[in-house]
Amino acid sequence: MDVEILARVQFGFTIGFHYIYPPLSIGLGLILVILEGLYLKTGDKIYEMAVRFWIRIFALIFGIGVATGIIMEFEFGTNWATYSKYVGDIFGSALAAEGIFAFALESGFLGILIFGWNRVGPRIHFLSTIMVFFGSLFSAVWIVVANSWQQTPAGYHIVGEGLNARAEITDFWAMVFNPSSVDRLLHVWIGAILAGAFLVLSVNAWYMLHKKHLEIARPTFKIALTVATIFSLLQLFIGDRSADKVAQYQPAKLAAMEGHYDSSAVADMYLFGYVNKKAETTTGVKIPGGLSFLTHGSFKAPVTGLRAFRPEDRPSQVNSVFQFYHLMVIMGLAMIGLSLFGCWLWWRKKLFDHRWLLWIFAWSVMLPQVANQAGWFTAEMGRQPWVVYGLLRTSDALSKVVTANQILFSLILFTIVYIVLFALFLFLLNRKIQHGPVDYGTKEPIEDGNRRDNPLLEHEQAQ
């Protein structure tokens, strides 16, 4: 098989798998800060039990996030050596900043967050929780800056030619605040917070369906519902701003997102549909002139279409970009609809009355996950055939010395490892949820020889 395809599949697979976890850490981080803040303010044991329970879940998610994230940092060097040389000056400094400013903060205080309950006072522990949350927010900053630079390069100049060409920083802050950084960062942050909020909604809905831990599940559910409502509405505006930037700086991507070919025509907005790449047509349910309106504020204005670009400069999988983009939008709208409906019932004091609604909430954890993945697929596939938009083609970015067989070997290796990992993750997550937010409230250290330390006794107890 082709080295380029294999390397792209491997990168897409490993980053997609990784991207399940860090957004959950960011979102859960916010929930932890809120719950622990409420505990400190009210002294209510309910919040302490809830925060201790969610810290356990957080630890599990964080662990896999770190393990799969280290792979990513080195995959640039192993599979994309030419790319690494080309962007090292820029991408490398963002990664270095991420390590020193974000990961060190996050991982340092994580120890206190998880193991520090009996070692530090409540205020210091709360401070650690906040630091872990900040650390996770910062870690998104640098990687999104680096990725945004690939989408809308700024603050650089090109030195050298051919194989030795590379981008060098001319203006650090222009590189950091490149045209799309801020909007994309906000978009990613909100997506991450939604991932965390919907996980909490889902677990607590499940408890209510099974009439378990109601005294903890109800208040936690309401907190998460508030977070979900605020941020899913906010995402509508931030997402729109992000799309504006795409329209301005990456017209080929925008055209692919809506399957728009003819530059002289009004651009429609599809609810769903299908792009026929060969015939260069798009069919589906549409709002005529919708994209023209969003881009230029008028239903009549023409929008640059894919035909304005040479075939080799167009995204190679137009239909996939179209589908992923629409999937993301539908998921986003579903989150808004579900959380607003929940709020309305809450206002009518009937939030927990409908079992069917709780079942929907129990499954709603999938909405932000699908939206986050689909959004990234849109962003990255829409940028093709470029790895750095307009500067470096993906096909030129590979490692020259790595063979297809080596990539195939590592791809199979990672596939097996990640399937095992994912199964174990779901198994343990499920066990923790089944166990519920009880028994974590005790402050007494457990002495040697205590029954909890005896695996056989604990096993009996669990049954």
């Binding site: 662990g63 896999i64 393990a67 799969t68 280290i70 792979i71 940092e73 080195f74 640039f76 060097g77 192993t78 050596a81 690494s84 040389k85 962007v87 000056d89 820029i90 490398g92 400094s93 990664l95 270095a96 390590g99 020193i100 400013f101 990961f103 060190a104 903060l105 991982s107 340092g108 205080f109 120890g111 998880i114 193991f115 520090g116 009996n118 070692r119 630091m131 590379r166 060098e168 920083i169 490692s399 020259k400 010395v401 790595v402 080596q406 290796l413 490892v417 990992l421 174990l424 343990l428 028994d439 974590y440 250290p445 457990i446 040697d448 695996p455 056989l456 604990e458 096993h459 669990a462």
Partner: protein, 344 residues
């Protein structure tokens, strides 16, 4: 070439990179070592205590690897690209080792079943050993040099990474980490487990000294060019001298029960070893013995001077911050391990 305090920026960044790698080896070294000796501990309770001794800090230690990778990528992108695409297969195995180690720590004590815990103990221990060995193997090959073509890309066969020198360095690295980890655990344990680790620490000191002496002899006999630097700069002989004294101090401190000093000595040993390696290889980041002109140096692999300056500013701001909260976390978890309900 622009300079800062009399040294050019490339050299400064080489020093920073070296310092980060030394920090990584010292910090992750003891938790990798603790993992590598895990199966020497037989009782369930001992294994839990040993794992919880590194529990709150191993993650922070591993961040140094991420910072090191970023530092190489940012400062010497050509070296980053060449090294990781050359060491493709060993590096993938190293990464899979890291994944399994991280999840085995996380998963092991989540279920009470003996078979579950035993299985994860084996995964944890073997992943720690594989990581230590592959780090040593890659270090050995970097020190020795690998064949590079005129585009400064690897032109050899990956099976050649398994040569006697690299294998010796790999074993020495494992021995060093096991010694370092055993000494760390003596500081964190009590009673019978502590006595057991005291004995293990002594055994690993012997393991380390033997493999270190063999590797040194092999180097002097078969790869004499690696000692060129010390032949031409006799003043620097102070460094191997200090290192020998530092190694000799480790069993001395263990014998009189001053484990903290023993630990500091083994940390200094790791740092001095890496300083020696840095002096031997400088200015090469990846040497090509067949065609030295194709070698990757800190000058032909570097980012622009402007980037180097930005990076140095980041390091100047970031290092004190990392120092402050790393010490805070270590201070919080000082003393003997006590298991509680949040433990692994």
């Amino acid at each position: 070439m622009q300079t800062f305090l009399g040294l050019d920026y490339n050299l400064w960044w080489f020093i920073v990179f070296g310092a980060v790698i030394s920090g990584y080896a010292i910090l992750d070294g003891f938790d990798l070592g603790a993992g590598s000796l895990h199966l020497f501990l037989n009782k369930e309770q001992s294994r839990r205590i040993a794992m919880n001794a590194i529990g709150p800090i191993w993650d922070g230690n591993e961040v140094w690897l991420v910072i090191g990778g970023g530092a190489l990528f940012a400062g010497f992108p050509v070296a980053y690209a060449a090294i990781f695409s050359a060491f493709y297969i060993p590096f993938m195995i190293f990464l899979v080792g890291l994944i399994f180690r991280a999840v085995s720590i996380e998963f092991r004590s989540k279920e009470p079943w003996p078979w579950w815990r035993k299985a994860w103990d084996i995964v944890y221990c073997s992943a720690s050993i594989i990581i230590s060995l592959s780090l040593g193997l890659m270090l050995g090959n970097v020190v020795e040099g690998v064949p590079l073509d005129s585009n400064r890309e690897f032109s050899g066969d990956w099976l050649s990474f398994f040569n006697p020198f690299a294998i010796l360095v790999a074993i020495t690295t494992l021995a060093l980490f096991m010694m370092h980890g055993a000494i760390f655990l003596t500081m964190k344990t009590e009673n019978r487990l502590f006595v057991k680790l005291h004995v293990l620490a002594n055994n690993f000191i012997i393991f380390f000294v033997v493999s270190f002496v063999i590797t040194t002899l092999y180097t002097l006999l078969y790869i004499p060019h690696l000692s060129d630097f010390f032949r031409s700069h006799p003043l620097y002989f102070l460094i191997p001298l200090l290192m020998t004294l530092s190694i000799a101090n480790i069993p001395r401190q263990v014998k009189i029960g001053k484990y903290r000093f023993a630990f500091i000595s083994s940390a200094i040993t790791i740092a001095l070893l890496l300083i020696m390696v840095a002096l031997e290889v400088f200015p090469y980041l990846l040497y090509s013995p067949q065609r030295p002109a194709n070698s990757i140096t800190v000058y032909n692999a570097a980012s622009s001077t402007r980037t180097m300056k930005i990076l140095l500013i980041m390091a100047l701001i970031g290092t004190p911050l990392v120092g402050v909260y790393t010490s805070f976390v270590f201070w919080t978890f000082k003393g003997k391990v006590k298991l509680d309900e949040m433990s692994y």
